[in-house]
Structures are given as structure tokens and as C-alpha cells.
């Protein structure tokens, strides 16, 4: 039976990523491990303030020891979270959601499309793919941000750019004079890539408005609907498929999602 008791955890490290986002490294107390999958989420709990769902940004392999959460200060809980420092205690429930179907995609080309904060959940997939690089063929990474200062995980992204094992393309909607990469919306990056549609698996996470345009581009390249995966984020409140906030049509994203293939999502009128 499920109850709402969170597991106690400790903040191990806090890193400022941009002016709005911080990366928190968390360790569960009592030697517990999270055992999550890429694109799953946890509910962070601060007693007296409440709970909020946050995607896990670190890959499963590290999960035994610690995990990372990239948090934008937006609401009550995330603002309070930003005031925390090393050794502070938080509560964790989860991990929840189905996560990315990594078992099914071995031996394929992986196309990852991350818009804005979408890089936070996708970083768990990217790092997983890089750690088990041999399991996958080509890895293509498209990253979009509003402006250069909003780009998350800047050092890592630069490393990925230099890494020959991964083809990275980055764009911003509005550049500043120092910007040397692409400019324009993320769909513009599809001009620069060629993919083999028969063996490509796509993973998309971004702001709600982004999905349909990116899906259109990927479908135009000939990728199968069932091979395009979307991570849809809603206001997950309970994580157990009851409270109703994350329901889209007949499914609860916290249980049956947040990762859906486009083949599934297309049948849900409220999904996209």
C-alpha cells in the first residue's frame, strides 16, 4: 500500500547553472538508492511548503549513490529549494513514471531533441547513452535555448560538442554578439542533420508548444510514429495515478507516462 511518507535525503552539492536554474545533487539517507530510469521523476518534499515533481537529470548508473535534480525557481517549493545549501535535508518520493524504454532501443540511432528545460530530463538519457555508447549506433543531439545565458549544463554541452561519439547541434532563439553556434528555433537544426529513418529512435522534451513542430520535422524525415518518444510533463501531484492533475484523456502521465510514443500520444487529443 502506498502512503505519502517521503524518504529523507540530503543535499550533497548545489551548482548554479543559469540565473534561474540550479543543479542539486541529492543522496538518500540510510544508504537507500533511487534506482531510476531515464526520464522518470521524483516528488520533492519540503515540510511546511509542500511537494513538487522534478525530473531526474542524472543517469541510472549513478543512482545507487546520488542523483541530480535541475530545478528552476518558479513556484513556492522551487523557490524554497533554491535557498537550500549543502547538508540541508529534503524529502523524496519516487521515482515515478515509466521512464524511457532504454531496453527497446539498443542498436539504433538515437536522435535527442531538447528544448529549454527539456534538457533536464533528457540529460539522464544522454548520459546513459554515452555511458553505454557501444549499445547504440549514431547519437545526434539537438539543443535549443531562448538565449545563450539560458543554456543549461554549459560545460557538459561543450564537452558533448567536442566528443566525436555524439553529433551535437545547438541553437538559440536570440543570440548575443559572442554566440558562434546556430540562431533560430530548434526546428531549424533539422536542416543540418541527415538521419536513417528506418533505424532512428527520437526522444523529444521541451516546452509544450515545441512538440508538434519538432514531430512534424521528424515525421518528414520518415521516422516511424512508434519510434518517436515524447516526455510530457504535467502537474504531477501524487505520483500514484489518483489525484487527477496529470490526467490527459484516459491516462495518468505519472503512471502511464511521462514518456509516450507519438503513436500513443497521437490518439490522446489532450496530449499535444
Amino acid at each position: 500500500m502506498f502512503n505519502f511518507l517521503p524518504m529523507p535525503a540530503t543535499v550533497i552539492d548545489v551548482r548554479q547553472l543559469t540565473d534561474k536554474e540550479r543543479l542539486f545533487t541529492i543522496r538518500l539517507d540510510h544508504g537507500r538508492s533511487l534506482r531510476h530510469r531515464p526520464c522518470q521523476f521524483v516528488l520533492i518534499s519540503l515540510f511546511g511548503i509542500g511537494e513538487a515533481p522534478i525530473s531526474i537529470s542524472s543517469p541510472p548508473v549513478d543512482s545507487g549513490k546520488t542523483f541530480e535534480l535541475c530545478i528552476r525557481s518558479m513556484g513556492n517549493l522551487t523557490n524554497a529549494m533554491h535557498k537550500l545549501s549543502v547538508n540541508d535535508k529534503i524529502g523524496i518520493r519516487g521515482p515515478y513514471g515509466n521512464g524511457f524504454p532504454i531496453e527497446k532501443i539498443g542498436g539504433k540511432d538515437i536522435l535527442i531533441v531538447a528544448g529549454g528545460l527539456g534538457l533536464a530530463p533528457l540529460r539522464s538519457l544522454i548520459k546513459h547513452v554515452l555511458q553505454e555508447r557501444g549499445r547504440y549506433k549514431r547519437v545526434i543531439l539537438l539543443i535549443g535555448a531562448k538565449k545563450p545565458g539560458d543554456l543549461l549544463f554549459r560545460e557538459e554541452v561543450s564537452e558533448w560538442e567536442r566528443d566525436p561519439a555524439i553529433e551535437t547541434h545547438i541553437t538559440v532563439d536570440a543570440a548575443d554578439p559572442s554566440w558562434t553556434r546556430h540562431v533560430g528555433v530548434i526546428t531549424g537544426l533539422f536542416r543540418h542533420i541527415s538521419i536513417d529513418p528506418l533505424k532512428t529512435i527520437a526522444a523529444i522534451v521541451g516546452p509544450p508548444v515545441m512538440y508538434r513542430f519538432v514531430i512534424r520535422e521528424i515525421l518528414a524525415k520518415g521516422v516511424f510514429e512508434g519510434n518517436i518518444y515524447l516526455d510530457l510533463e504535467r502537474r504531477m501531484r501524487c505520483g500514484i495515478g489518483k489525484c487527477g492533475h496529470c490526467q490527459i484523456n484516459g491516462i495518468y502521465l505519472c503512471q502511464n507516462g511521462p514518456v509516450l510514443s507519438y503513436l500513443e500520444a497521437r490518439k490522446l487529443q489532450e496530449a499535444l
Binding site: 502506498f2 505519502f4 489525484c243 490527459i248 484516459g250 489532450e270
Partner: protein
């Protein structure tokens, strides 16, 4: 085992219940009825139409405490899942059917410990309505005017006395402890059959067409104009979902004691008809139009729950119609969809 109890013994029976249970019973309040905890058997009014809130809310209460926590030490948080023994009495079949569905929804894994704990310590005493309580009810269309399970005892008024079906061990214990019950005789049974035959005549169908097909027709009507029409009327007050006996959406919030040391995490009822229900931190609202929300309510009852649990989530109690200040009627919506299908055939 079936028994009977005479009208004038009901007081004694309730007094007997009171010695073991918190007794929750229908009682008159202003011009309506409510379910409330009683101390005095005389307060009970077994003859009632539909209560404002359904009895299931005593198993799924608002502002239920989930956790107690200590702001100074996170490890001191404790789960609160209590169930005082309670007896829900004189519960109509529609509301029993609603509880049956709630049991199934909340027992589905991951199951809800708070609900299940409370449910396990609850006995339910059903009460057969001998006709439709109001015009706005579609229980008969849905077959939810009869409850086949979900009660420990089930009372039917057969004139001068009640015929009592004893359905469970807990029910048997109650009956055996209280000396007011007599073993049902053949004549009692004949009177029961007569009462039920008479009862059946009172009900009439309010939905035009084959209800079995409703879920299918609704799916076809996803883009029907009815949602905009009803959405324009809807004030998004959420009354319909708060009075619904099969609505269980909730939100979780923390409250801190004035000592600033301890606090509680509570669950309060939430409703998909409220404007901010699907709003996320970024400001995006995934169901921002009233039309979408009205459609979601109807689909949740008639399509989504039906798909998951094999039966409709609307038990036909009519509360959402009674308490809608904008006069939105789920009966009118169903009929509109059914009529539209017939026009197109």
C-alpha cells in the same frame, strides 16, 4: 440470512450501533438532507431524497491528514492513516454503487492507504429507495438503482417493518447482538417482492437511446458543439465535482502549527472543473477552456473510468445537476449526444 425489524425498534438498533461505531446517518438540515455523525437516534431520517454530499466522503474526507511532521527533523514524519469504526447508515443503492467504484479505483495499485484503512473500518447499511427521489436522476437508466454488493446490511421498507438482508459477517454480528431483529418469514419475503415490483414502476428512463453505446457515441462526439455550449454556461465553480460520489481528485498541502515546530500534510478535495486544475508552474494551463473541462468531466465518468473499470463512473445520483448554478445537466448532455447520433444515422 435475512431478518426483519419493526419500525419502532430502529431507535434501539441505532443505539446499539452507537455503542460500537461512529454512526453516520442522513438527517434533515434546512431544506435538504446531509450525512452527519449522530448521537441521538431520533435525529435520523431514513426517508430522504439525496443528500448534499455523498456518504463516501466519510471514507474520503476533505482535509484528511496524511502525515504529521516536525519542521526541525525530517525523519520524525509519521504516516497518519486512521480509521475509527464507523457505520454509514441508510445509504441508497446509487451511493453504495459509488463506494464500490471508489473501492476499486483507490485499491488499484499503487493503492491508497488512507482510503483503504478507513474503508476497512466502515460498515455500510444500505437502504432501498422505493422510487426515484427526484426528477434529475438517471440511476435507473444506469442500473445503479440496485446495489448487489458493497453493504453489510440492506434495509427495505415493507410496511410496518424493514426487511433486512444480511450480507456479511460484520452485518450478522450487528444483527445478532441487537435483539430487535426477527428471522424473516415467508410473508415478509412476499411483501418484499411486492414492494420491489411496486418500486420498479416508479422509475422511468431519462436518456434516449441505448446507454450501452453512450461511451462509444461520446468518443465520436469529442468535437461536438455541445462542449462549447455547456462550457459557455459553466462558471467553473466546481460544485458538480465536489458533490459527485465518484470524484476523487485531490491536492496535497501543508499546514504548520502556530508553534512553528510541527505541522501536518493534508489532502483536500480538488476538482477538474476549477480553472487552475491543470496549470503548471510555467503558467501553461493544459485545460484552460471551460468547454474542455466540462468535456473532461463527462468523459472521465463515461469513457475513461468505463474503460479502466468496466462500468460507468456516473451512478446517476443527479447531484451534479441539482447543485449546478448554471443549470448544466449531464442528462441533457447525454441526450444531446444520443440525438446527434440518431440524426446522423
Amino acid at each position: 440470512m435475512d431478518v426483519t425489524i419493526e419500525y419502532h425498534h430502529i431507535d434501539r438498533f441505532i443505539r446499539c450501533l452507537l455503542s460500537h461505531y461512529d454512526v453516520i446517518a442522513p438527517l434533515a438540515k434546512e431544506d435538504r438532507f446531509i450525512f452527519d455523525r449522530i448521537e441521538d437516534p431520533a435525529a435520523v431520517s431514513p426517508q430522504y431524497d439525496t443528500t448534499l454530499l455523498p456518504p463516501v466522503k466519510w471514507i474520503y474526507p476533505n482535509n484528511e491528514v496524511l502525515l504529521e511532521f516536525d519542521l526541525r527533523d525530517i525523519t520524525k514524519a509519521e504516516v497518519i492513516a486512521q480509521g475509527r469504526p464507523q457505520a454509514l447508515t441508510f445509504v441508497h443503492p446509487c451511493d453504495i454503487n459509488a463506494i464500490n467504484l471508489m473501492d476499486e479505483v483507490l485499491a488499484e495499485e499503487p493503492s491508497d492507504a488512507n482510503y483503504l484503512t478507513r474503508r476497512r473500518s466502515t460498515v455500510i447499511i444500505g437502504y432501498e429507495c422505493l422510487g426515484p427521489c427526484k426528477e434529475n436522476h438517471l440511476c435507473f437508466d444506469k442500473g445503479y438503482h440496485i446495489a448487489y454488493k458493497g453493504f453489510d446490511l440492506f434495509f427495505t421498507d415493507i410496511g410496518g417493518r424493514y426487511y433486512v438482508h444480511v450480507a456479511t459477517e460484520a452485518g450478522r454480528e450487528i444483527v445478532e447482538e441487537d435483539g430487535s431483529f426477527k428471522k424473516a418469514a415467508y410473508d415478509d419475503w412476499v411483501d418484499l417482492m411486492k414492494a420491489r415490483a411496486e418500486r420498479k414502476k416508479g422509475f422511468k428512463k431519462v436518456i434516449r437511446g441505448d446507454l450501452e453505446m453512450l461511451s462509444h457515441h461520446l468518443k465520436e462526439a469529442y468535437h461536438n458543439e455541445i462542449w462549447d455550449i455547456e462550457g459557455k454556461k459553466c462558471l467553473s465553480c466546481g460544485a458538480c465535482v465536489i458533490v459527485c460520489p465518484t470524484c476523487y481528485c485531490f491536492d496535497v498541502s501543508d499546514e504548520i502549527c502556530p508553534d512553528m515546530e510541527k505541522g501536518v500534510r493534508t489532502r483536500r478535495w480538488d476538482g477538474c472543473q476549477l480553472r487552475g486544475f491543470c496549470k503548471v508552474a510555467s503558467g501553461e494551463n493544459f485545460r484552460k477552456d471551460a468547454a474542455e473541462r466540462v468535456r473532461h468531466r463527462v468523459f472521465k465518468k463515461e469513457v475513461y473510468l468505463k474503460k479502466r473499470f468496466g462500468r460507468s463512473g456516473c451512478v446517476g445520483c443527479g447531484r451534479c445537476i441539482d447543485y449546478c448554478i448554471a443549470k448544466i445537466s449531464i442528462i441533457d448532455i447525454f441526450n444531446h449526444v444520443m440525438d446527434r447520433v440518431r440524426e446522423n444515422v
